[in-house]
Symmetry: C2
Subunit: 456 residues, 2 copies
């Protein structure tokens, strides 16, 4: 009976399933500022590059081999590959590849990677139905708003509890985006969100395994199927998100309901999306940024005797690996990040390959890097000092690493990132052909013109 | 930092992912008593009848309409229908139909309905691969053992928190069963369980909607796909179930780890499975049982002046609806249960149809039924007294309702239940043809001989 008392006390939750469904079903097309519209294009383009870039990863091979056992119809493109599969499986595989390199977008308020679940579901459905780009951008903005607002309601408790919040809110964003794309009405959209609410995906214990990128993929598939079910009359609770035994209260003790309604339709969470310049954990980024700047100032490896880093304590706690032996462990080495920043001037997926990690020049440079915790250095900052063989000392101070909200990647930097990811898979010419169109996504008459370019 | 301390304190959990994987991969075929083997056949047969019985329900229609949008390959049977779909979608739809009437099996220790997720996944995969019945029974027993043991670890906290435990443990049972059927080794089985662990399905808020039966269906599909992924080299954490940010600790505060290892391979949880004789919530069953017995004693409706029920307090709390207006609300009326027990001598899905609920004879009989809470009456018991027009008074006392562990359905009663469910869908002759084979499941050379009979 104690349970019932608690349940009664909690029924004050506002009807967020209804509120969000109405918003998704009825907000006007392109009902936001030019800045939001541009950010949506950046989000989509960054996501597309990440998905194509990891198309040949062994996780993609394994996932596709499993999907092939279902003998899927050729409805939608597996980005960066020749295969076409049913749209639900395409959503799954593209969601996996987009997160495989840990190089996708980040909504820093919640550390949700929102494009993985939402764009993967929306593009697969749009391709199957031959939908235009305007509808895709609308679905992306609204779907991401739903996922990130629910994330805001529950973060950090939900994440601290062990949920991988990208997959455990992503099915809602994917369902919302697909519901919009299918032009479901408010009631059907509520059913889609309700069905999706029963399917959160993702445990943080999976970090370091292929099941981490599986989370956004499975969330994309779950959201897409929820929308298809709702379209065909399947029912769910219209209070699935907020009820005492509904989603939020079951998976989080923090329930900041206002995060759903606060400036809904005026402030869009996609505005707070960021894009990583480097293919590793975000705490290493200020150091790499500083080392890339040193190199840009003309410092060459042969001149260097010693590199000193002054960093936030989290940097050594999370990425203090001095002698990484392979690409995966190098992602947890601030020493490696500094070394490739200086030697290569970048830290894309290639710079975390086993070959680069074991390159004698890189090994030698890592040995010259020394790191110290400095309590005056913010998480987003780094101080790097190079001592040269001629006795000179050169310092670079980064206050806000490139890729942060305060210092976002420029469009040109996003384009460079895209080409570094896509050219090895589709070739430089095709990569540039896709890149030449990214600002025009919303005006595409049929997204199949784009997806066709994403197959080799 | 407080979080890290807590995490450190919890690492004492035993390696249950490994323990269960070894068990599933290596326990010998038919490594249990004849009683367990027989219960497995009863479980499968009861599940099959429920799935076929609900084949034409609107939930099945809606789910199939959504699945058809994926243009699925014809790999596996939708039980009770002509359609064949890919095996993952078949697992989904058969899982839905098996739970649609709330008439499926119950593991009373956890109120898990284990066959829905496990049998739906196992049979679809077995049909696709043309597997024999022996392997299916082995997969069913082992898969149900995994789901119910994990349920024992977490029940009741996990359920109280709002999870629909059938779907939120079912993906593990389905993954285990499919891993066994695919003959995955211990390591691959651990990966299958790990991938499945990230995909719990089900919120209790969905009760009363089509998303309730969606839970076992989606769990079946998730478990099947997890096994296919693992077979193809997909990886997950080998501590996905027990780690501090793994499944059990994320979704439950109760963590009775011993429930996994206690008599593992000796005691089988399928032994504790029960089958409902009546198509409604279990608290009404003692009353219906008593009324059916009154009718069997020769009491006919026209003689009756008044029926008095003495029942446990939960009965009126959960099923106190005096004047139900349709089939769904009649499931929450102990008065209706008593009326159809007396008039029809049974309470299958038909007796909860709108027609029967509004039949004037039934309406009149409900009016004659009066219920009182009696603290001396156990949840599993009921006292029913009929006062007849000639002044006689006839009493029936039920101590353990039919269908309980103490008073299980006989095989003959299961056969009658099966026919009541299946004959309206496939006809009496076909129903009896299937029923004539149920004891021989394990000796079937190829389960496709059975699934072919399950299509009209």
């Amino acid at each position: 009976m104690a349970r019932n008392t608690q349940v009664a006390a909690e029924t004050a939750a506002p009807p967020i399933t209804t509120i969000l469904s109405r918003f998704v079903a009825s907000h006007r097309s392109r009902g936001w500022t030019d800045a939001v519209e541009h950010e949506a294009h950046r989000t989509f383009y960054n996501w597309l590059g990440c998905a194509i870039g990891a198309a040949r990863h062994e996780a993609a091979d394994a996932a596709l081999a499993a999907v092939r056992m279902l003998e899927p119809a050729a409805q939608a493109t597996v980005l960066g590959r020749t295969e076409r599969v049913d749209m639900a499986s395409a959503a799954l595989v593209n969601g996996i590849t987009s997160h495989t390199f840990d190089f996708d977008d980040t909504h820093l308020k919640t550390i949700i990677h929102p494009a993985g679940p939402v764009a993967s579901a929306v593009l697969a459905l749009a391709e199957k139905n031959g939908v235009g780009g305007r509808d895709v951008v609308d679905a992306l903005v609204l779907g991401i708003d739903v996922a990130c607002r629910i994330g805001n309601v529950m973060y950090p408790d939900h994440y601290d509890r062990g949920w991988h919040i990208t997959g455990s809110t992503g099915m809602l964003g994917a369902a919302a985006g697909c519901a919009r794309l299918l032009r479901l009405d408010e009631r059907q959209t509520a059913m889609a969100l309700g069905i999706a609410a029963s399917q959160p995906v993702g445990l943080r214990e999976q970090f370091g395994t292929m099941t981490k990128p599986f989370h956004p993929g499975a969330a994309a598939r779950a959201g897409l199927l929820s929308a298809l079910l709702a379209k065909n009359g399947y029912t769910a609770s219209p209070r699935a998100l907020e009820a005492p035994r509904g989603f939020v209260q079951v998976v989080s003790d923090k329930r900041a309901w206002d995060e759903v309604t606060d400036e809904l339709g005026e402030r869009f969470e996609i505005s707070f999306n960021t894009y990583k310049p480097f293919a590793c954990g975000i705490v290493v980024h200020p150091t790499i940024d500083a080392c890339v700047q040193l190199r840009a100032q003309g410092i060459v490896v042969e001149q260097v005797e010693r590199i000193e880093l002054r960093v936030h304590s989290l940097v050594l706690e999370l990425t203090g690996k001095k002698e990484p032996k392979d690409g995966l462990s190098a992602k947890f080495s601030v020493y490696h990040g500094a070394a490739v920043g200086l030697i290569h001037g970048r830290a894309g997926e290639h710079e975390f390959s086993d070959d680069v990690v074991n390159d004698p020049r890189v090994v030698a440079m890592r040995d010259m890097v020394h790191a110290t915790v400095d309590d005056s250095v913010h998480e987003d900052a780094a101080l790097v000092a190079a001592t040269l063989k001629d006795g000179r000392r050169v310092e670079v101070r980064v206050d806000h690493a490139i890729g942060s909200m305060q210092n976002p990647l420029t469009d040109a930097q996003l384009e460079a990132k895209f080409e570094a990811l896509v050219a090895p898979v589709l070739g430089v010419a095709r990569s540039r052909e896709i890149a030449g169109q990214w600002r025009g996504l919303a005006s595409l008459a049929d997204v199949r013109a784009l997806t066709a370019l994403c197959r080799p």
